[in-house]
Amino acid sequence: MALLDLKEVTMRFGGLTAVNSFNLNLEKGELVGLIGPNGAGKTTVFNIITGVYRPTAGKVYLADEDITGFRPDVITKRGIARTFQNIRLFGSLTVLDNVLVAQHLRLGASPLEAVLGLGRYWGQEAKMHERALELLAAVELEAVANEQATSLPYGQQRRLEIARALATEPKVLLLDEPAAGMNPAETVDLMDFIQRIRREFGLTILLIEHQMRVVMGICERIIVLDYGQTIAEGPPAVIQRDSKVITAYLGVSADA
């Protein structure tokens, strides 16, 4: 049984078909790469899974539940978290607050309890803090917990975004170009980091990435999108030799 299942998903914007009859099967614990040239529809797939867009046709299932057309916050509560291609942190909040915000969805206490400071709320708030510090430790950001999020260097902002996504306690994590703008050393760190959090948090990961080194290095399976359609699917070794992929995408920089 697939954990995340996309069936014949199609997304049209006016006359433009961004995603066409796309299928995806994500088994529990898998790490799958989604690649393709710019404008191939990768981020659109993320936006459909997370409820930002409602697909024109097709269905999205999470653990056999049809979540098509659910609101983004409901989908996140069900266990899908994401990062953004162009980092979207809560800029003027502190690093710690960014992670705390992402735990708000699990807060049971009502606004009244929170304002009056009734018993249940304080227990939950304390637990959230504890958990946030753990997560920040896991991404090695505990030292900057009280800094403003936008004051962090780029690489740390990327890691904070991942920590924030983890704070929602996801089953499935969608990473949108986590290595963008990183230098080779940082990229190697990131690869280790992704594999580590996958083990530690028992995650299933879908990864959009342009740096072939990352995708080929850590993904078990790769799906190649072009013009909104899957043109190839398989383990890295097979994808690297696929002629269609090479023409569509790797042709220019097969050695990247």
Binding site: V52, P72, T76, R88, F90, L93, H104, V115, L116
Partner: protein
Amino acid sequence: MDRNNNLLYTLIAVLVLAVVLAWAQTGLFGLVSPWNPYTVRIMNLCAINIGLGLALNLVNGFTGQFSLGHAGFMAVGAYTVALLVMSPAAKQMNFFMVPLVAPLDKIQVPFLVGIIMAGLLAALFGLLVGAPVLRLKGDYLAIATLGFAEIIRVVIVNVKGLTNGALGLKSIPGHTNLWWTAAYAALTVLLMVRLVNSSYGRALKAIREDEIAAEAMGINVFYHKMLAFVLAAFLAGVGGGLQASLIGSIDPAMYKLPLTFQILLMVVLGGMGSITGTVIAATIVTALMEILRFVESPLTLGAIHLPGIPGMRMVVFSLLLIVVTLFYNRGLMGDKEFSWDLLHSRRQTKQGVTQ
């Protein structure tokens, strides 16, 4: 710094404030109030405006939803208090053109009940207005909230059997005193501090920073916007009610955009997203607004007679708003807050201790 120390400081500050207020309102230990009614009135207005400013800041500053509908909710609160608290005889005096609908013409409730009803009714309006408009963003939201406030006002002008129309209501019982206004201001400050620093407050700020990211983090954006909006409407209703009872007479023309503008001025001047800022700015703007009143009224100094210049105060304040927006758009406090630790660290730096 030590948490207990800070709590102690806060308690002392509150105590001192309470003593001052008691002194101002009723006199203390046989000492007559040193302040004349005019000064006490200004203090009342300051306290009311602190509450009104904080309510607007909750929506505009902390949640980042730019609303221009404050005056509408204040009007709802003001009319609710007036109609519930006035004596049947006073109502009859007011409604000489069109009689007041039953059973309102016979009802009279205690002030506290009236104030709470004012808040609740304004909150209900907040709910009804918020449900459609909070789906809008930015300047569209601003215009739509302004539109609703204007609709509320036009309805008040026209439903004469309920509101006495454009004539307004006069001789509203003056229950409002420093105890009421200070309690309103203090409770609002307390509520805001607790809310803003709670998990809900963080969610509101997250929505302000990036709505799409907030949604992706599992925050029900609409519910939280509504929470802030309805709470602000409640506080605006209470503030409007207190103000009506302080001033003694109300009419629909009072609740036009300039009223919202005044409150907005306090929020922007103080800093969108700072409780301390709004408290300070509301105090300063209210006091200035009253002190500068002389500019607008005719003045006779011996043989010299100066005519008043109506509008002069608002010229000053509009200029102030523009200048602040242009050169100092974070306002007095930005999104910073006062804390005792701030004072400590100042002192420490002065002593040459590095932080």
